[in-house]
Every structure is written in C-alpha cells, then in structure tokens.
C-alpha cells in the first residue's frame, strides 16, 4: 500500500483522483463533471481547474500557486476545503509523497 493519509489536505499533501472516479467535460451542460458510483458532481471552472491539477505529484501548495498564475484571486483555504470535501467522499486521495 502506498502511504496515504485520507484526510490530509494541508499544503504538503499530494492529492490525486481516486481510481474509480472520472473527471470529464460534459458538452450538454458546458461544464466539467466528476463521475463516481451513484453521484455526479457538476463543477465550476475553478473546481475543474483544481482537480485537473491533482495528479498525485503536485502538493496542495503547488496547486494553489498554479491557480494563482491563472486567476486573479485564489483563496488557499477554499481550495483546501474543496479538496477536503472530496476526500471525505473518497473521490480524492492524498499521498504524503
């Protein structure tokens, strides 16, 4: 088992999508969506951008830095809270890296 602590979304954690969820673009809604067993999460632009950066190598701090290159204002605590909710739903896993 790789070293994962399922609730860690602090700056040093390295989040990635869980193996059984899929991030995809839905042309019918013109939104990105996160698909998991029995759930569909329709994402806003920022949410999709965060998850697009969750590749298991970037840390949360690096993800926030990437987002700041793209958007004028990025609240790091909101990114952490967003990832924390998805970790609780087991859609995102966090490695210590």
């Amino acid at each position: 088992m790789p070293s994962t602590s399922p609730t860690r979304t602090d700056d040093a954690g390295r989040p990635r999508l869980a193996a059984h969820v899929r991030l995809t673009f839905d042309p019918a809604r013109q939104r990105h969506v996160l698909l998991a067993p029995e759930t569909v999460t329709v994402l806003n632009g920022t949410g999709a951008a965060v998850l697009g950066l969750c590749d298991g190598t970037r840390t949360v701090a690096e993800i926030v830095a990437c987002l700041r290159d793209r958007y004028d204002t990025v609240a790091a605590d909101e990114v952490r809270a967003f990832l924390g909710r998805l970790v609780a739903k087991r859609c995102v896993e966090v490695g210590d890296g």
Binding site: H20, R22, A28, L35, P37, E38, V40
Partner: protein, 368 residues
C-alpha cells in the same frame, strides 16, 4: 422550456429475464408483454441519444442484465460515449471471463445483490441457490479493481439481520452498501402483507443503520433507503417526475421511473420517438413535471419542492388516481390506507408468510 435541465441518469432495463425469483421484485406483473426486446443496435442508438441529451450515469439493470449476450458491446458503447457505467446484477452469470471482458470494455462500477447474510436464507428469498456464487463474484469484482456496492432489499424476513448484513459487506470490502427497504410496486405490492415489517422492526433497524453509517464513515458508504410506509413524509421519488432520471424498459418504452408503466398515461417508445422528444415534449414526461399538477394538500405545502408530492405510482396503485398526494404522507387524505397496512403487518405472526415468487418470463431472443 427554459428551466428544463438535462437528465443525469438513465436506467436501462435490458431484459426482464432473471435467474432469481425474489418476491419483492418491482418489475411489472405482465412480464410477458416485454418479450420484444430492443436489439443491440437499438440500445446503442438510445445510448448515443442519451449522452447527447446530457445523461452521465448509465445504470444497466433488468431483470438480470447479464442475460443479454450483447452486454459487453452495450457497455463498450456507453463507455466510449463518456457515460459512467453501473452494472446492477444478481451476479449469476458473472464468470471470470465475462468480468474481464466487461472490465476491458470500460465498465466502471458493479452492484451485486444479496438477499441476506447467510446462504440458506438468501437462497430461500431468491428461490434459487445463488448466495455462494454471489460472494465469489463480489470477490472477483474487488480483485479486478472495481468499486463494489452490495445491494440488499429489506423486508420483514431479513430486516432483523441488518447488523450481520453490514458485517458481510465489510468482510467483502464493499465500497458501498445499499440497505433498501422494499418499495411496494409490481410483485412486491402483490406480496406486501407478507413483506411489510412491523414498526418495532423498522425502529431497531434504523438504529443499527445509523450506527453503521457513523462507524464506517470514510471507509464504506452505508446508504439506508427509508421504509416509506413508516415515514411521516413521502420519498422525493426520482428527485421529481421527469427532472433528473429516465428509464428505458426492455421493449423501448421510456418512463420517468421504472414503475410508471402501471399508470394510465400515453406511452412513449424509443422505436417511435427520439429520447430528446420524449424528455422535452412527450405528454408522459410533462404530466407531473413541476408543481402545477398538484392537488391539496401538496399545492400549498412548504415541502412541495422537497418531496414533489411523493410517488405518482404509489398514489395510483393505492388510490386509483395518480394525481393525488402520495398516501404515505401523513397529510394525505388517503393516509389511512397506509396506516392500516402497517397496523395489519404488526399484528401478523412472524412465521408462515406465503410469498408469491416472481416468475421467469418467457423470452424471445433479442434481435441483432
């Protein structure tokens, strides 16, 4: 129709053929009327139209979907379109070879039913020796890396075993367990008096389910579907009529929910209409959309956008009028129909219930 959202989910009932004969089955009583099943290419066209319409979750069910020899082709098409695909199965027919083909075709998630936590009771409820094969298939699902949901329909014959059912789900390393109290449609309604649990059973089971949900949080999702006959308010059936989900029956009939075939409404079939027309324009899907159709007490109720007046099929099956408030609601003028049924169940002796098994339908081979 500016406020009409696209559907999220399509329940594809591929066939009503099934190796099990569970008396709680919600399939139609007139199973033989569904023998002319959609062909592979017809299903593939339906899935393409569904994805264009905005469907993201495809639930493959029945009957037993593994009875369709073209299941792998149907999954491959759906996965290629970008749908998240769920197989809802008895697991009978899920051989290692078939499982590997489905994995390769892109199937995302497997839901396996068990009827109880031990072989003799489970096989008795299924009227088929099946429990050991189900466990083997559940292990196979995990070995192949799929998320596994264990589905258990609850009724007076197994509700007291809910803690042991949760233990079984844990032993199988299920990711989700759905503990679903019986909904009384089809064969289940025919068997209602023998399936309906007592209020004491329901209260004990809810306490166990609540404890399990807390204890297993973050490891396994415990989904408990309420026994609506015992509730004060009705279920928000399908998240609202024609609002989030649609069903396609084995013969191509499109329905707002899998039991709406019982209602005296005009049919809509994929052999005659596009799925987009059915969703957006058909009289069937318009009939109970929104709140404009509602009678009192729903019309002025603060919960009308919460539970949508409950279940139209249940209103029809219990009162003969699909446009009445779901009699499960304690505010319904017909609520005594439900309280009388629950009271009768509480008075019945625990043993000796006679159940009518759902029969095996006759079946033509699906056309290619």
């Amino acid at each position: 129709m500016a406020d009409l959202d696209p559907p999220f989910g399509l329940l594809a009932e591929l066939t009503y053929a099934c190796p099990l004969q569970c008396a709680y089955c919600s399939n139609p009583l007139n199973l033989d009327d569904y023998r002319d099943e959609l062909s592979t290419s017809e299903w593939q066209r339906v899935l393409t139209e569904a994805r264009e319409l905005g469907v993201l979750q495809l639930h493959l069910s029945g009957g037993e979907p593994l009875q369709r020899h073209d299941l792998v082709d149907i999954v491959r098409t759906a996965a290629g379109l970008g749908c998240y695909t769920n197989l809802i199965t008895s697991a009978l027919g899920l051989s290692p070879r078939r499982a590997e083909q489905l994995r390769e075709a892109g199937l995302d998630h497997v839901q396996i039913s068990v009827q109880a936590d031990d072989a003799s009771l489970s096989d008795r409820i299924a009227v088929t020796p099946s429990f050991e094969r189900k466990l083997a298939a559940a292990r196979l699902v995990k070995e192949l890396g799929w998320p596994l949901t264990l589905n258990v329909v609850l009724h007076r014959g197994n509700l007291d075993r809910i803690a042991r059912i949760v233990d079984l789900a844990e032993r199988l390393a299920a990711d989700r367990v759905e503990l679903a109290n019986t909904q009384y449609y089809g064969w289940a309604l025919l068997n209602r008096d023998a399936l309906l649990p007592s209020r004491e059973q329901v209260e004990r089971a809810e306490a166990v389910a609540r404890e399990a949900r807390e204890r297993l949080r973050g490891r396994m999702d415990v989904v408990y579907v309420l026994p609506d006959y015992h509730e004060r308010y009705p279920k928000p059936c399908m998240g609202g009529w024609g609002r989030r989900q649609l069903t396609v029956a084995p013969n191509g009939d499109v329905l707002p929910c899998p039991t709406a075939h019982a209602l005296p409404l005009p049919r809509a079939n994929v052999r005659e209409h596009s799925l987009a027309w059915v969703w957006e324009e058909s009289p069937l899907f318009q009939r109970f959309r929104g709140t404009g159709w509602m009678p009192d007490p729903c019309r002025g109720c603060a919960r009308r956008d919460v539970d949508f007046g409950g279940c139209r099929c249940q209103a029809f099956l219990l009162t003969g009028d699909a446009a009445r408030t779901d009699p499960v609601c304690h505010l319904s003028p017909d609520h005594d129909l439900v309280t009388a049924a629950v009271h009768t169940a509480g008075e019945r002796p625990a043993a000796g219930d006679r159940l009518v098994p759902r029969p095996h339908p006759h079946r033509e081979h699906a056309k290619r």
